[in-house]
């Protein structure tokens, strides 16, 4: 394939990917950065990485898997970079489970605040657990999550089960306190 044909295919693929998965990518990015201005920068970085990476896309996996992988890998790199600069501490699923009852319960009254609560939980997790939770919330099955993360389906199933319990306990705690 000539260079110009390759570039055209890259551009077309990017446009297709941005159209089909733009909303999902924006939600993933929100899961990796809360600050509005920084989120816009990260979104731009993801789109740039996606466009560049598509030069090497030869159908190794589905376009959706490719887009999700790029978005999460750029997001995870962003989190690592931010942690180095501010020494923010992430927790793994085990620690997050322990802290369910310890954290101050704020009375939340509507679904928007439920979302805020889920977002807070997501942002407290380590990158791998965060990726799993974001993919779970996008309603992906264990096989798709496994293809994106590289974890075995069994490992994914175990972790997703724990994510579900964690979310249930967080949100039920909220219901009790309200």
């Amino acid at each position: 394939m000539s260079k110009s044909e390759n570039t055209t295919s890259q551009d077309t693929l990017y446009q297709e990917a941005a159209r089909a998965f733009g909303s999902e990518v924006a939600r993933f990015v929100a899961g990796y950065e809360r600050d509005d201005a920084k989120r816009q920068d990260l979104l731009q970085e993801v789109h740039l990485a996606l466009w560049q990476s598509l030069a090497g896309f030869k159908g190794q996996c589905s376009l959706r898997t490719w887009v999700y992988r790029v978005a999460h890998n750029v997001g995870a790199t962003h989190v690592q970079r931010s942690m180095r600069s501010v020494q923010r501490k992430s927790t793994n699923l085990e620690e997050a489970e322990l802290h369910v009852d310890e954290r101050a319960e704020i009375i939340l009254t509507d679904r928007r605040l439920d979302l805020e609560r889920v977002m807070t939980l997501i942002h407290s997790l380590e990158v791998l657990d965060r990726e799993l939770m974001l993919l779970y919330l996008e309603d992906l099955d264990a096989a798709s999550i496994s293809a994106i993360t590289g974890l075995s389906t069994r490992n994914v199933a175990t972790k997703v089960h724990r994510i579900k319990s964690l979310l249930t306990s967080r949100l039920s705690n909220r219901s009790k306190s309200s």
């Binding site: 979104l43 466009w51 030069a55 590289g150 075995s152």
Partner: protein, 188 residues
């Protein structure tokens, strides 16, 4: 709230999806390349300046040992520039590497950072050797009278920097081991 309600709540978020034209992406890519070249050039200029200054000293200083020390520092700075060039080109990953499964991508990234940290001795070592010979030359002809405590000004920062690099590399290795364990436990 059940599973499905939670997922639909998550998916119903109204977020700006961003709209990036191909021209803008090309501009961003070019800007990123320029930034990388600028960072790389900064390191090369520093190395060249050290080589120039110590090359001058090697030319004008009267004591042979000091001149040898300066010559070694010059060689060290050339070695530093060579390493910078070599490692810089190794560090470049193809853009499609970003589409690797997370575990593979993350492990490779951590290993790359670990290796870069561990290579600190290759960067500092040759220059340190030159500086040692230089100081030994300064201490002549009566090394016993030389105020050796002055050398702690160089030695302490070097020891601290090397220790910090190795400590950080050790932490990264622990993360890599955790990732490997995660995959091993899945295979059992």
């Amino acid at each position: 709230m059940n599973d499905q309600e939670l997922k639909s709540l998550w998916q119903s978020q109204t977020l700006m999806t961003g709209s990036y034209s191909l021209e803008q992406l090309q501009r961003d890519a070019a800007a990123f390349r320029r930034e990388t070249v600028r960072d790389h050039t900064g390191g090369m200029i520093s190395g060249a300046m050290v080589a120039l200054i110590f090359g001058f000293y090697a030319w004008v200083l009267p004591v042979t040992l000091m001149r040898i020390g300066c010559g070694l520092v010059v060689l060290g700075s050339f070695f530093f520039m060579y390493q910078l060039q070599r490692r810089g080109s190794i560090r470049k990953r193809p853009p499609e590497a970003l589409a690797l499964p997370f575990i593979t991508y993350f492990r490779e990234d951590l290993a790359r950072q670990r290796d870069a940290l561990r290579s600190v001795l290759w960067y500092i070592g040759p220059t340190l050797l030159g500086m040692s010979v230089f100081v030994w030359g300064m201490a002549q002809p009566n090394p016993a009278d030389f105020p050796w405590q002055v050398t702690s000004v160089f030695i302490i920062p070097v020891v601290v920097v090397v220790a910090m690099h190795f400590f950080a590399a050790h932490r990264l290795q622990r993360k890599i081991d955790q990732l490997d364990q995660l995959n091993e436990s899945a295979e059992i």
